[in-house]
Amino acid sequence: MDEEPERAKRWEGGYERTWEVLKEDEFGSLKATVEEILFQTKRKRALESHGQVRLGMMRHLFVVIDSSRTMEDMDLKPNRLKATLKLMETFMEEYFDQNPISQVGLITTKNKRAEKLTDLAGNPKKHIAALKKARDAACVGEPSLFNALSLAIQTLKHMPGHTSREIVIIFSSLTTCDPSNIYELIKSLKALKIRVSVIGLSAEVRVCTVLTRETGGTYHVCLDESHFKELLMFHVKPPPANTQSECSLIRMGFPQHTIASVCDQDSKPSFSMSHLDSGSEVGLSLGGYFCPQCHAKHTELPVECKICGLTLVSAPHLARSFHHLFPLEPFRETPLEQHPAHRFCHACQGQLKDKVVFTCPLCSGVFCTECDLFIHDSLHCCPSCINTQLSH
């Protein structure tokens, strides 16, 4: 297990003159330098795009939230548990926005046991409701990594081979209470091709380092709340797929949305399948999505038909993932003096005021800093490339 040499710890290295990086501006403030350092790390992370690597599009992700005694620490406001739950709600929305055909489940661990909050599902509303309810839960006892992981394994091992199986653990305690040898469990995780990543809230724990290294995940310890959010959002992007994961053709249905009104002669009110779970919803409705195989009605997509088991999606859901498959190339940074002819940004028509401008390598369009961030974060397509018909 320990054949790989571990990287040297920070105190074992030489002196770093970190004070020389920071420079004060004329008012003695460090704000500009700090912002620039953060901006550079953000761009570096954005530039680490994988290129021509196969990505795992259909993901089954379990999130394990530590609910032990250490989560009541107030170093993250108001306390660690509430801050984590709030960030998880944002994570859920972003996750289903970027990966519409994936599923997420929630597990909490406290008092040396693990409990499943929500099962694997593709609908964010259920998870967000469960997260809101969990805010009032008490944090007692010690967490148990073994129990949480085996609870996740029980569901993940039945998932089909072409999906990517992942577990993300938010771990704040420095101890774990396991009923059995966790290294054996790590071996079985590796055999089942489950990728485990950990986000630590306190300090680096050796068992987590070994766990993530063996299964191919990442391990980071957060510095403050914004760093925590960044680390969490890092898991929203689809990871590179395992080399041994199988590729198969998945049978899916594309139901039509019928919007019937009361004056329609043929429309009959019917129950939808989602009311089987929650009795509080209004039962009868006129329109909905009818499964093409068994004609059972559902109210929203994507969903797995409860009667016949067919996965139902709509074409825009698949289209949402296309920008992962054809990522936009990062723009080149050039100083403003090299472009005397361009005074306006090609996208937003604003005047170019910054010292650096960004040029698209394909069409040589010139963009300002704000547009560059917007294009790479939200738009995923270059406005002037479309206009010169270079991209299809």
């Binding site: 797929a241 049978r251 698949l318 498959l325 054809f326 940004c345 939200s378």
Partner: protein, 304 residues
């Protein structure tokens, strides 16, 4: 009534495909590009006249490029780099609100410049609608960033479409639609000629209105009735009902619309029949064979 701190931005994207408008001038001489522009200007003026905090932007979408007609770069720069026409006082003599008359003049000038200078090169006869929408989104994003503390902005985009859809722009179009949905920007569509599936999807996903106009001459009437009220006021008006959007996917092999299909797990391409190799990403699929059952060994009865 909107409060003083809430800005309302309307971006009008006009399709000025010269080929379609040229054919239109021969089919129906009563309704030409200048009549259409008049109707759009009526709509723009009404929008700016409603409240002081309403803003307007107009983009012309051509086969070669998209141009901002209003606000114009030459006009806002103010250093005389543009034509000399803007130096004279924009006085129409009929007592119109000066902002509106300036806007009308600028739009007319820019439109003349766009139509006369842009050439149609090669085989590109499709309107670059996705590019204009992308530029509109960047412009809205810039204005949102330039707000001061306490101010809000609500934006929507109105697309006036004439020519047909370009299938090659599907992916860029979908990216733009999802970006608009994330920023809570409505996309409305006013279609003059043939139905556009892409715009129907855009309006459905972002929550806007889609309307195919039966009579082109009455364009101004439709614009003022349906598209002038903003999203809050629309709930209190009786507007055309939403259209039924066909969300079925088209298979990659025959381009037929299918209800049940097979999706490749690597590249998400859709096929109507099972095939052992994906034609887009050339992955070989694992075929599920029926499981081999071991024959049970019968115990030999010992003969006594």
């Amino acid at each position: 009534m909107a409060s003083e701190d809430e800005w309302n931005l309307l971006v009008i994207v006009m399709d000025v495909n010269p080929i379609w408008w040229g054919q239109q001038a021969q089919r129906e001489p009563e309704f030409t590009l200048s009549k259409c522009l008049d109707a759009v200007m009526v709509m723009g003026n009404s929008h700016m006249a409603m409240t002081r905090t309403n803003k307007l932007a107009i983009i012309a979408s051509h086969c070669q490029d998209s141009h901002f007609l209003y606000p114009s770069k030459n006009w806002t720069a103010g250093d005389g780099a543009g034509d000399g026409a803007m130096d004279e006082a924009p006085n129409c003599g009929d007592g119109k609100y000066e902002l509106l008359s300036v806007a009308n003049n600028v739009v007319a000038e820019e439109m003349k410049r766009v139509m006369s200078t842009t050439e149609v090169k090669g085989n590109s006869t499709d309107t670059l609608l996705a590019g204009s929408l992308a530029k509109a989104l960047c412009y809205i994003h810039r204005l949102t960033k330039e707000l001061e503390a306490g101010e809000e902005i609500k934006s929507r985009i109105l697309v006036i479409k004439t020519a047909e859809d370009c299938a090659r722009q599907y992916m860029n179009f979908m990216n733009v639609i999802f970006a608009a949905q994330k920023q809570n920007i409505l996309i409305d569509a006013c279609v003059l000629d043939s139905d556009s599936g892409l715009l129907q999807q855009a309006c459905d996903i972002t929550g806007g209105l889609y309307l195919k106009i039966p009579q082109k001459i009455a364009l101004a009437q439709y614009l003022l009735w349906v598209f002038l009220p903003d999203s809050e006021q629309r709930s209190q008006l009786v507007l055309p009902p939403p259209v039924h959007v066909d969300y079925r996917a088209a298979c990659f092999c025959h381009r037929n619309l299918i209800e049940i299909g097979y999706v490749c797990s690597v590249c998400l391409s859709i096929f109507c029949n099972f095939s052992p190799i994906c034609t887009t990403c050339e992955t070989a699929f694992k075929i599920q064979l029926p499981q081999m059952m071991k024959s049970k060994k019968k115990k030999l009865k010992q003969s006594t």
